[in-house]
């Protein structure tokens, strides 16, 4: 890890190189700011905000690609491609198998088992990535901000070299805590820190729980001349299945639609009557 002094020298050098070349920083970037000692220490410790100028302007290798765009799950080859329950999937633990079997029993009766998303619980990772809604991704040097058109769910992938938060203080969430590193032509994203209640690996069919031990490693690749983003998911959760569960999804670059404000308002399900119908089973 670079020392605070090295970082400060690099920032000054970068500012000087701009001046020497007669260039100005790109409008999207804040003006380079000399890191204070406290900021430099925070960068070293990984505790400086991803949007702090000193962090944004830290010298880093150019990333191999930029995901900034709107994206939408590609189902052109298979209408069910958005599902994670598609084969091959792993051997379930006894507890998860019980949930799976119960869900399939009700599915056979034309009922819906524990559709928590329909009751406005967050979809969570991984399902939030493949919902039938566009997702906006904004890439900065220090982080990728993802906003799903589905309930405007926010996911942040930190790229600034920080480590995962201490498990004793992490605030568990449905999208988890994601740390990304550039490896060759791929972005490798490691995500932990999930909530394990009302969190499912899929919806509409087999119910397979996602627990607090869920660990997801994603490998992002830009394919098809940048028209598609491919993400290879490798997922483990020893409380719910054995070994690794792998799934690869592709997303189409969308240039004619922006995400909108989408909320699960208190009165939504009063009028979306299927969500409160006798088809729903929650026990």
């Amino acid at each position: 890890m670079k020392s605070p002094m090295t970082i400060r020298v690099a920032a000054v050098a970068a500012a000087l190189s701009f001046a020497a070349a007669g260039c100005t920083p790109a409008p999207s970037q804040p003006a380079p700011a000399a890191a204070t000692q406290a900021e430099a220490d925070a960068i070293a410790a990984g505790t400086l905000s991803a949007l702090a100028p000193a962090n944004l302007n830290k010298a880093r290798p150019a990333p191999p690609f930029d995901v900034t765009s709107n994206w939408f799950i590609d189902v052109s080859q298979d209408p069910k491609a958005w599902h994670f329950y598609l084969p091959p999937y792993p051997k379930l633990t006894a507890a998860a198998q019980k949930e799976y079997d119960t869900s399939m029993k009700y599915d056979g009766e034309g009922k819906v088992y524990k559709d928590d998303i329909g009751q406005c619980w967050p979809a969570g990772l991984p399902l939030i990535m493949t919902r039938y809604w566009p997702m906006a991704m904004i890439q900065k040097p220090t982080a990728i901000y993802m906003i799903s058109g589905f309930m405007n769910s926010v996911r942040i992938i930190y790229l600034d070299g920080r480590k995962h938060t201490d498990p004793d203080v992490i605030v568990r969430t449905y999208n988890g805590e994601s740390i990304g590193t550039w490896q060759g032509n791929e972005l490798v994203v490691d995500t932990v820190g999930f909530r394990g209640d009302h969190h499912w690996m899929d919806q509409d069919g087999p119910a397979i729980p996602a627990g607090e031990k869920l660990h997801i490693v994603e490998r992002f690749r830009m394919v098809n001349d940048g028209k598609q983003l491919e993400i290879e998911f490798t997922m483990t959760d020893p409380d719910n299945w054995e070994g690794e569960w792998k799934s690869t999804k592709r997303f189409n670059r969308v240039v004619d639609v922006d995400i909108q404000e989408v909320s699960c308002l208190p009165d939504l399900n009063q009028h979306i009557k299927s969500t409160t119908s006798k088809t729903q089973v929650f026990q």
Binding site: N70, W71, F72, D74, V75, S76, P79, W82, D107, G110, K111, V112, D115, I117, G118, C120, Y132, W133, P134, G149, F150, M151, Q203, D204, G205, F251, N252, R253, V254, D256, V257, Q260, E261, V262, S263, C264, L268, H271, I272, K273, S274, T275, S277, K278, T279, Q280
Partner: protein
């Protein structure tokens, strides 16, 4: 528009997955129900647009049954020619839905015919492909 009650029509309907915040498994995609009635309320919103249609009860025509009709997001409806004011309370409509399996007066949208004869459909959620244009 003919004054008929709603009727159940058995049909094999292979419908593209609708954009929904909930599981679509509650709906019986093999059945269609045709609702002929009056718009009670139309809400143009995310994540779903919805219509409530008052339909004469099949057994007691003096009573009205309010059917809840669930549609996709305005993002896709706009691409199929919809607008926020395309219908309003009091309008006569014919709406075809796939009903919920429980038999309750609720269904997911298939098509709608307005009093002037225009037929409205949805557009599949296929962003980034020619289908979504």
């Amino acid at each position: 528009m003919r004054k008929v009650l709603w009727s159940v029509v058995m049909a094999v309907a292979l419908v593209a997955p609708a954009l929904a915040h909930h599981s679509p498994a509650a709906f019986d995609r093999t059945k269609k129900v045709t609702l002929v009635g009056t718009v009670k309320e139309f809400r143009w919103q995310n994540p779903h647009t919805w219509i409530e249609v008052e339909v004469p009860d099949e057994k007691d025509k003096s009573k009205l049954v309010v059917w809840g009709v669930e549609l996709t997001s305005p993002t896709y409806l706009i691409r199929a020619g919809w607008k926020s004011n395309i219908i309003k309370p009091g309008d006569k409509v014919l709406v075809v839905v796939n009903p919920v399996r429980s038999g309750e007066p609720s269904g997911i949208f298939v098509s709608m015919t307005l009093a002037d004869g225009r037929e409205l459909l949805e557009r599949p959620a296929r962003l980034g492909t020619p289908e979504s244009k």
